[in-house]
């Protein structure tokens, strides 16, 4: 990977990190409604995967979506406004944090039904194959979602039809308050790929470069007509399931240990070591990103609420 590309991944991760740190702050201050679910600590997955995609490639996301959306190029202002429930948000406040769709960047559907996006990506990948569009579809889901029946049905069909789909299992150790060993006996979700005669790959989900490389390879397989790949990214959720979760079940030392392996710092360090950026440039970038995040908050807060009767719109096409 070029240092330039690495820098882009780093920059993408930093935006996600700061955007969500801001959300933590806003939630603590009671500023945003509903339940907000963050991907803090898992940024390398979003950045690495989306960094390997083209604009016309489709992503289908889940409840932990902010990183995916930002990495796919969605506008932080419109995401933040949607999280606030403002009329200027991506979906006019109808979605909120949990189901943001940004068709503008082919982040077509986000579903908070665990496992619900996996069948959908079979459909988008089918359409791409049918239309010979030369693009691929990616679905993000968690280790918990891999226990849903939809995972099984989808991977089987995608493999059977050689669809250009990439299944990204973001294994952050937990599914709600249940640890991996409390919800499945298998050590690696990627093992399940064998049951569909599909390649299953395990990567370090805190290493954006590793995630990127695995995705590039899977994407090439897709485009060569060789069908889907399951990629399991081993990572960790620094925060609770959502911002109202006090993490009583998450051992403190476990969290600390994973924070040592911060994906953002890892890449920052590599870029500094490689001499591609300087400490000064890091500070400037931080500054720029903080400004963008502040701007998104200002945008959201200044935006109007939807009118109550707007609730009646957008049901039918």
């Amino acid at each position: 990977m070029t240092s330039q590309k690495k820098y882009e991944l780093y920059r993408g991760m930093l935006l996600i990190r700061r955007f969500e740190e801001k959300l933590t702050e806003l939630c603590a201050g009671g500023k945003v409604p509903g339940m907000v679910i963050l991907c803090t600590g898992q940024e390398a997955v979003a950045a690495g995967v989306c960094g390997a995609l083209e604009k016309e490639d489709v992503i289908i996301s889940n409840h932990r979506s902010h990183g995916h959306l930002l990495a796919k190029g969605a506008d932080p202002n419109l995401i933040m406004a949607e999280i606030y429930g403002k009329s200027t948000g991506y979906n006019k406040g109808k979605s909120g944090t949990l189901h943001i769709a940004a068709p503008e960047v082919n982040a077509l559907c986000t579903t908070t039904v665990v496992g619900g996006g996996i069948p959908i990506v079979v459909g988008t990948a089918f359409a791409q194959q049918y239309n010979k569009s030369g693009s691929v579809s990616v679905c993000f889901f968690g280790n918990g979602a891999a226990d849903e029946g939809s995972f099984h049905e989808s991977l089987n069909m995608a493999a059977l039809w050689n669809l250009p789909a990439i299944f990204i299992c973001e294994n952050n150790v937990y599914s709600g308050a249940q640890r991996m060993e409390d919800h499945t006996k298998v050590k690696d979700i990627a093992t399940r790929a064998i049951g569909y005669d599909m390649p299953g790959v395990v990567v370090d989900g805190n290493d954006a470069v590793a995630v990127y490389n695995a995705t590039v390879e899977a994407r090439e397989r897709c485009l060569a007509g060789e069908g889907p790949t399951l990629i399991e990214c081993k990572t960790y959720r620094w925060r609770g399931h959502g911002e109202s979760d006090h993490q009583v079940y998450q051992p403190k030392d476990e969290i600390a240990c994973w924070m040592e392996r911060c994906p953002v710092e890892k890449l920052q360090k590599e870029l500094l070591d490689e001499g591609f950026i300087t400490r000064q440039e890091v500070l400037e970038l931080e500054n720029e990103i903080n400004k963008a995040v502040e701007e998104s908050v200002r945008f959201a807060e200044d935006s109007p609420w939807p009118a109550p009767e707007d609730a009646l719109e957008d049901i039918y096409a």
């Binding site: 077509l108 559907c109 069948p119 459909g123 939809s150 049905e153 089987n156 069909m157 039918y316």
Partner: protein, 327 residues
């Protein structure tokens, strides 16, 4: 005018639409190579004509069949997928109800999901309650869906074409009891609008609102009632969602009496919606209690005498009508 069964009418609509629009494809269990190789079946001959690229036999996986439609439609294809029997709607229902029906709303109107889910319905085949269980009331309780349930072969053809051309998810419910009897169906390309009920027989004394196979049962009551001087108006709902309230209300306001007839079980059936509508918006016109003629609140039993007992018939309809004409 050709004489074809509803199975054939569905096949005709499907093949004509697939010829017309290359973005239409089909998927389902055994819709291509099937265990029933009869020309009366609704997907007969389509694999031969359109090939396995557009007529996709799937694994037995209802959730992903529905999800396939959701994902393919958001990218602009027009999938027509099949749920083999109505009870298996349950297995597809997360994708249909939580995704197909809601994702447009969740996109703030940015995305559309032009997909059709065909479902085979109806008791009367000795298959028992895990194959026969009419759940149209479930679908009709989900904003974002359209729900169509034709009662004739000719309607099926025109409505299915509309469903395929519609930009929303449409649940298209075919009663298998209509698959095998030929009736007149126009040969040309025509559509019947979704959301418009049809007064299949005008009448003076009592409005009978019904849909799907029960339309035939309603017609069987016409003659015997006429002998008693009772002239019924038969309103064929055709679409349950969006509901054509005006046609229903106009009829009830005219006759002053309403009987709803449907095959599904009584409690929580869609007949309640129609009765409620009349009690809300045509109350002044009502001269007698509303009546519902439906299956009893039981699963569909297997044994022929039990299954016959399950199905509402014209005798029950006639009795209900006489009761309220007297009242």
């Amino acid at each position: 005018m050709q004489n074809i069964s509803m199975g054939q009418a569905v096949a005709q609509a499907l093949s004509e639409e697939m010829r017309r629009d290359p973005s239409v494809f089909m998927a389902g269990e055994g819709i291509g190579v099937g265990i029933h190789d009869s020309p009366l079946m609704p997907t007969y001959g389509l694999l031969q004509e359109f090939g396995p690229g557009r007529v996709k036999d799937t694994p037995v996986s209802e959730a992903v069949i529905a999800g396939l439609a959701v994902g393919a439609s958001v990218l602009g294809l027009r999938p027509v997928v099949e749920v083999m029997f109505f009870p298996f709607f349950t297995l597809a229902s997360d994708q249909i109800v939580n995704h197909a029906a809601k994702l447009r709303y969740l996109s703030g109107g940015k995305s559309a999901f032009p997909m059709v889910v065909r479902i085979k319905a109806g008791a009367g085949f000795g298959a028992g309650c895990q194959h026969s269980h009419n759940l149209e009331a479930w679908a009709a309780h989900c904003p974002g869906l359209k729900v169509v349930m034709p009662g004739t072969a000719a309607d099926a053809k025109g409505l299915l074409k509309s469903a395929i051309r519609d930009d929303n998810p449409v649940i298209f419910i075919e009663d298998m009891g209509l698959y095998f009897f030929p009736t007149p169906v126009p040969e040309e390309d025509y559509t019947i609008p979704i959301g418009v009920a049809d007064v299949k027989k005008p009448g003076r004394d009592v409005t009978v609102v019904t849909w799907s196979k029960m339309l035939g049962t309603a017609f069987k009551a016409v003659g015997p009632l006429a002998k008693d001087g009772i002239d019924i108006e038969i309103v064929d709902l055709r679409t349950l969602l969006p509901l054509d309230k005006e046609t229903i209300l106009n009829s009830v306001r005219k006759t002053g009496r309403l009987v709803v007839l449907h095959e599904a079980t009584r409690t929580g059936g869609f007949g309640g919606e129609i009765a409620a509508l009349a009690a809300e918006e045509a109350f002044e016109a009502l001269k007698a209690p509303v009546k519902r003629v439906t299956a009893p609140d039981i699963p569909v039993p297997f044994s022929p005498p039990l299954e016959k007992f399950y199905l509402p018939d014209e005798a029950q309809l006639i009795q209900a009508i006489k009761d309220i004409v007297k009242a």
